[in-house]
Symmetry: C2
Subunit: 436 residues, 2 copies
Amino acid sequence: MYRMVSIAEAQKTVLNAIEPLPSISLGLSDAVGHILGEDVIAREPLPPFPASIKDGYAVVSADGPGDYDVAFEALAGTAAGQLKAGSVAYITTGAPLPDGADAVVQVENTEKLPAGPDGQQRVRIVKPAKGPGDDVRALGSDIAAGEVVLAKDSLVGAAEIGLLATVGAATVQVRRKARVAVLSTGDELVEPDQETLGPGQIRDANRFMLAAAARSAGCDVTDLGIARDDPAEVEAKFGEAIAQGVDVLLTSGGVSVGDRDFIKPILERQGTVHFGKVCMKPGKPLTFATLDGAAGSSGRGLVVFGLPGNPVSSIVTFNLVVLPALRAMAGWAEPRLRRVHARTQSAIKLDPERPEYHRASLSWHRTGESAGELAAASTGGQISSRLLSMRSANALLELPAVQGVLPAGSLVSALLIDDLSAMPVPEDIPLVVPSW
Amino acid sequence: MYRMVSIAEAQKTVLNAIEPLPSISLGLSDAVGHILGEDVIAREPLPPFPASIKDGYAVVSADGPGDYDVAFEALAGTAAGQLKAGSVAYITTGAPLPDGADAVVQVENTEKLPAGPDGQQRVRIVKPAKGPGDDVRALGSDIAAGEVVLAKDSLVGAAEIGLLATVGAATVQVRRKARVAVLSTGDELVEPDQETLGPGQIRDANRFMLAAAARSAGCDVTDLGIARDDPAEVEAKFGEAIAQGVDVLLTSGGVSVGDRDFIKPILERQGTVHFGKVCMKPGKPLTFATLDGAAGSSGRGLVVFGLPGNPVSSIVTFNLVVLPALRAMAGWAEPRLRRVHARTQSAIKLDPERPEYHRASLSWHRTGESAGELAAASTGGQISSRLLSMRSANALLELPAVQGVLPAGSLVSALLIDDLSAMPVPEDIPLVVPSW
Ligand code: NWS
Ligand code: NWS
């Protein structure tokens, strides 16, 4: 009944159906992980005054080496003093250069002299300034007044927080992130804290896993619990999601062809099912629907992903389709998973019918004079119920639908699903010292 | 006065001085981003019963094709029934295989027949099971009873949360993360929300940036505000950090050679300064000290990093030295930044005296039949006051201390400081379809 769409078509359909969420105002420390909804502009130049780069002496560079009176101290956080030629001022790093001075001589290039009879501090400039501007940061040399320090649509990380603070953006406009609800479906499911399993029971894994994945993407998550395989119960949970005004509902299970698979029929009744079958392994029954005008707060309709029940299928389809959608809602200009290339470490049997997303652990590897490459270690048996195949996986290898076995050492495309800055380090990666 | 140590020695000194924090018990949903303090073992096999992989009919595979009575329904979440040869049972995905049955025929390979006169449901098995076990997950085929599903010292991500839920680990032992306090020092500093800057003033950038970086590493952060350049005020702030029982104190500023640089003398009085000068650019005055027995709650002493005041120096030294320390405290077996190799996109002038950590943005790039490589785009002017050089940077290029200019196209080592799964995509990365 549902046409089998390609993964590319599925991703396109989803990204076309959603739009970035509106901007909200956040305090600067809460902006991490958000996309800016506005250009952030510096009101003043940085430094706002010519500033010393060193601890030492502010000088008139033309004065050259020799013994000088230390006329005064120019300390950070004070107004710039006035220096007369023929004298110097003690200055600390970051202090405003006195008017009249044009350079700084670091303290290491000077020698303290005994004070004069009147208590006058004196110093010998041993190695003079090279010329005007030496060891001085010119006004506005780091940031010009009016400069866009962070453009709309950029992602805020720690360094960007520093830039926001620098320019006085104590609050900032950023895109809101999606509010997500998670629902598991199935008569066989019990909570993780149930010690002993009854006949036919298994513990609910998907809800906690999908909630964690959505939270890692910065989303607020509402836990809708488990719905039994009963249309009324499932519909009541949908109602709860709508009442709570979430933007996205993630269900898992109940999207296949069985008698007790109620998700698709309910979505058809309540909204539009855009696709119900995707040519991919795992994840074939992945379903995407929109319920127009359903969502409370945003009024832009509820977006529903009916993820397959097999745990691997649910988290793989989350990464391939849901995560790009959450990123797009959060304002990412490039929401798709990042593609790299990797060398397989072992032979892999291919699926003749559906492109397969083989879970793997990438690590950096370098032989001889090569530029280095990513080595892909398979996580083992790939059946979609075996969640161990996702353990420590940081990439999905994009394997073609071909009959046969891909030999070890093949170059494949891989999509990053985790942070490579925590990737395994199976071998010592030596420092490359370039020579030319 | 301080010996200039190498960055490798500095990192080693720090990692030697600290140890992993104790384990705490957390609810499974709070464990994300933590390192496991124990092996997590499956009490039961998964599936806990032979389970159907498909919606269809449970059969005795030797019965072969033909028309059969549907004896009963085997639904997910119910106890396994008893099937007699010569009949079949309707079964849903995930349901226990009835005793007596040995395979499943998916519904697509069957034809519903009209019910018998007695209302008996009947079905035609068109394409029979290939043999025993067809479309059945054997008991324990995904996880064996007693299997270690997650080893001590593994990092918990979303998939690992799913595994914890699966095996019923509703609470779990994980390493605690460090509690971190941040303190800025300097008479010139004002808060980011100060609209107009007075003479000699700049806004405090480091505190917010370092707090954000520590939070991104999962740490709880205490904000100690700004201390004026006054030893009594700085010491009072240290006292506050100790009273609050934080594990790590990050200061910025006041570690250089100026008259008003009080951090090192105070640390010497209160504890042990392990190094006070590192041969690196930026970050030369980086200081590391331990205050034995100072910390309240843990009793393992307060670890203090005196970071340089220049904003870039503070965040670069955070990444190179503090972050590995926070990771080691959190139990990471490999806490160091991940090293990769990258091709420079432009010529870079080297520093003849100190190895330089050049901020860059890595992206994936592939030409011809190559295995793909990382292209490193410089973030521009690298003076340590120019925080714009950290904007969008995801790596630090490890440049040698050599006189000269490194030509564009050079292969260099790079340390990852951000998530490559958000890296820029300057060019379309095509899917590689392997052929062999
Ligand atoms: N005739 C026919 N039958 C078919 C297919 C077909 O083509 N034809 N396709 C396949 C494929 S093909 Mo695949 O992704 O390419 O591997 S998924 C897939 C599957 C999807 O079925 P669905 O309706 O989504 O899920 P259900 O509820 O049946 O559960 C599925 C499994 O997952 C478990 N499970 C559920 N929820 C949770 C939870 N929260 N935590 C832990 N485990 C959970 C649950 O116990 C069960 O074992 O049906 C199959 N059956
Ligand atoms: N004679 C001599 N002088 C020297 C050196 C030397 O060898 N000899 N070394 C260099 C180097 S060399 Mo480098 O890392 O390799 O580039 S740092 C470095 C520097 C470190 O000095 P420090 O004492 O740590 O910091 P100070 O408090 O002086 O501030 C430093 C700057 O940063 C700003 N600043 C402070 N805090 C904040 C904040 N929170 N937010 C925003 N900006 C802030 C502050 O305004 C000032 O402009 O001193 C230099 N002076």
